[in-house]
Symmetry: C2
Subunit: 403 residues, 2 copies
């Protein structure tokens, strides 16, 4: 049904934007590379005859009118990447959405409902924390002021950067009433591959808590300062990290320390200050909240014992969500019609669909990740799986657009 050549052309072109040899893709939200990718995507939307609009969060929408003035079927994901990210996370869902529209065009297919494809801003949260600022913005989870004032490491704000790259649009362009939202994404985990399934039908997304921890001890000279007089912020952090892994993480709760920095950060200084982040996830909100409590208690206990100060800040919290039964069933029907193997599953990663689910019927389609790898240069989803995904997406859109 779909045009493989065209699809893999867009995928291979997009894999060049932000590419750093040996380091995957670096297409951080609202960076020059993001702008370059957005401009190319804009061109492709225009070639496909879509009407483009950009909202006040930089989210881009390409609209194909339907026969009737009904709320649209919306599909898409995000174009931004991690700092050393892969070629599929996010963008695959945008390019397959584009391919769906192009295939409708190929067949001169007129749908009852309009179809809109979308690119949400800053899904990764790698440049501006927390993730999913664009989708969270339109879903009313984050207000405009909050989103605009998020800052990257260098102190540049979301608003400044959005203006700088020329993608600040209008509030009235935000995602309006919609019939259904579909996000196709790579799984980013090992389950589909392990079980040899072609398609994941995503029923929900687990809950996520992010914490920033700042430990303030006392910087000192590494030479003449005896061990018992130190207030070493990094040794406190090491004890906390090690015990979080041993005592809090388990098969149902993941704990990740992704970012760490020490100050003054020279070989011969006892670190006086350390900052690190904690990412805690579970499909069970109670387990997650319990783990967050345990982590807080552990942090306090270790810091109290070592007589160092500590401040923890909640950076992000999102509960487990369940997608709408109607759309899940529609996806499952397409999968069955097409004869693909599949399983239902809960997503371990956050996605724009999580927030869009707050404002309308939503579900997701997952494709297998080779070795379960994601957020790394070796991220890979096989061509044949991408084609299966495109077909499922196309069939599902066709069905939903006639509802």
């Amino acid at each position: 049904n779909i045009n493989k050549e065209r699809l893999f052309h867009t995928l291979s072109k997009s894999s060049e934007i932000g590419a750093i040899p040996g380091k995957g893709l670096k297409r951080l939200a609202l960076s020059d590379e993001d702008k370059e990718m957005r401009d190319i995507f804009k061109g492709w939307c225009q070639e496909a005859g879509l009407t483009l609009r950009v909202d006040d969060f930089g989210n881009m929408y390409g609209r194909r009118e339907g026969k009737k003035a009904l709320p649209p079927v919306v599909l898409g994901s995000h174009l931004d990447t991690q700092p050393e990210g892969g070629r599929f996370d996010g963008i695959l869902g945008v390019l397959l959405a584009l391919e769906v529209v192009n295939t409708l065009n190929d067949h001169n297919m007129e749908t009852d409902r309009p179809v809109e494809i979308v690119n949400f801003t800053n899904e990764e949260g790698a440049r501006f924390e927390p993730p999913m600022l664009g989708s969270g913005g339109v879903a009313g989870v984050f207000d405009q002021e909050y989103v605009y004032s998020r800052k990257d490491r260098e102190g540049h704000s979301f608003l400044e950067e959005m203006q700088r790259i020329g993608y600040k649009g209008e509030e009235e362009n935000r995602l309006g009433d919609f019939h259904s939202f579909l996000e196709l994404h790579i799984e980013q985990g090992p389950v589909l591959e392990e079980e040899n399934k072609q398609i994941g039908i995503v029923e929900g997304i687990q809950g996520i808590s992010w914490m920033g921890v700042t430990i303030t001890g006392e910087a000192d000279h590494a030479g003449p300062t005896p061990m018992h007089l130190r207030k070493d912020a990094l040794m406190a952090a090491a004890e906390i990290m090690h015990n979080m892994e041993k005592k809090i993480a388990n098969t149902e709760v993941t704990v990740t320390v992704g970012k760490i920095s020490a100050s003054p950060d020279t070989v011969n200084c006892v670190p006086g200050e350390v900052y690190f982040t904690v990412d805690i996830r579970s499909t069970d909100d109670q387990l997650r909240e319990g783990a967050v409590e345990q982590a807080r208690a552990l942090i306090s206990e270790v810091c109290h014992e070592r007589q160092v100060d500590v401040e923890t800040a909640e950076l992000w919290e999102t509960e487990k969500i369940d997608f709408g039964k109607g759309i899940i069933d529609a996806i499952e029907k397409s999968v069955e019609t097409l004869g693909y193997s599949s399983r239902r599953m809960v997503s371990g990663a956050g996605h724009d669909a999580k927030y869009i689910n707050n404002i309308g019927p939503t579900a997701m389609i997952f494709l297998p990740s080779v070795n379960g790898k994601s957020h790394v240069p070796s991220e890979l989803t096989l061509d044949e799986d991408i084609i299966s995904g495109a077909n499922v997406l196309y069939q599902t859109v066709l069905a939903l657009a006639e509802e």
Copy 2:
């Protein structure tokens, strides 16, 4: 004897160079701030009638001729600081050396031996690792090529930066034959203050080992990757750091992890690579070498168990040294004559005197550090202790210059 007003004027002037409000001094070796301080010091040397020369490591020497053509008495230390350093570490020894010369001038004192004052380049090792590159260079511990090729975090080399700030001199200007080398420095530890002594007579310097550790696991998405499938480089580092503190450090061996960085360094990525440094010190070389062995074994064991790769690099190693009895006695005699309280001690920090001791008679004078603090903005040595130090230095130089 000495001129307090002049002395505290130079100290207060130098405390402005590289000052960052709330963050102490940042006068990293061969930076613009180091150049500014060097230029001012050069001016002061000229005002004092000294003949200035700069060697091929950027070390600066100011010479006052003696009555006889004998090897000089040399005294000095370094002008560079840590990234958030104090106002006394290093520079106090240079400014008191200058004050000694100025006092000789005040009294029209002609000494038998020439007197040279010196500023050694990159003592701290904060910008270019390892420390004491300038003194190690002239002492033949490091060859020119090694020193020149040291790089800072941004990749700028020692040679480039020395040329850029205009302080690359000639090889023939290096420290020549000398009668004695005296370095006055702050203690940087708590001993003198605790025991209420005015002067530390330094008999030697403990041994130091620096190691760089790179752990390579696998980066992964923090969400969908179950704990048991992770190869988390940071959790491996945390286990190592915590166990080094618990099992290797003790009252005779210090262990410090001063620098750490994780990659890709975003909240939702399991770190695939971590780099950290280990600084191990002891006054007993066997204990230090044993601790280094233990650290290596611990690192291998943890990384083997977690199936992550690891590489350790030796960044620096220097053995415990003992200063020459003759100069120690000369210092002690001045201290007694002046009636100050004192104790003999071994330095916990490395100093230029450590390497200069390899090529001629050397010893050090320590002054108390308030709260034992150093390498931090709160570093403090009291005015009255500085004056005592200046007097001891002056008396000792007078004695040595007539030997």
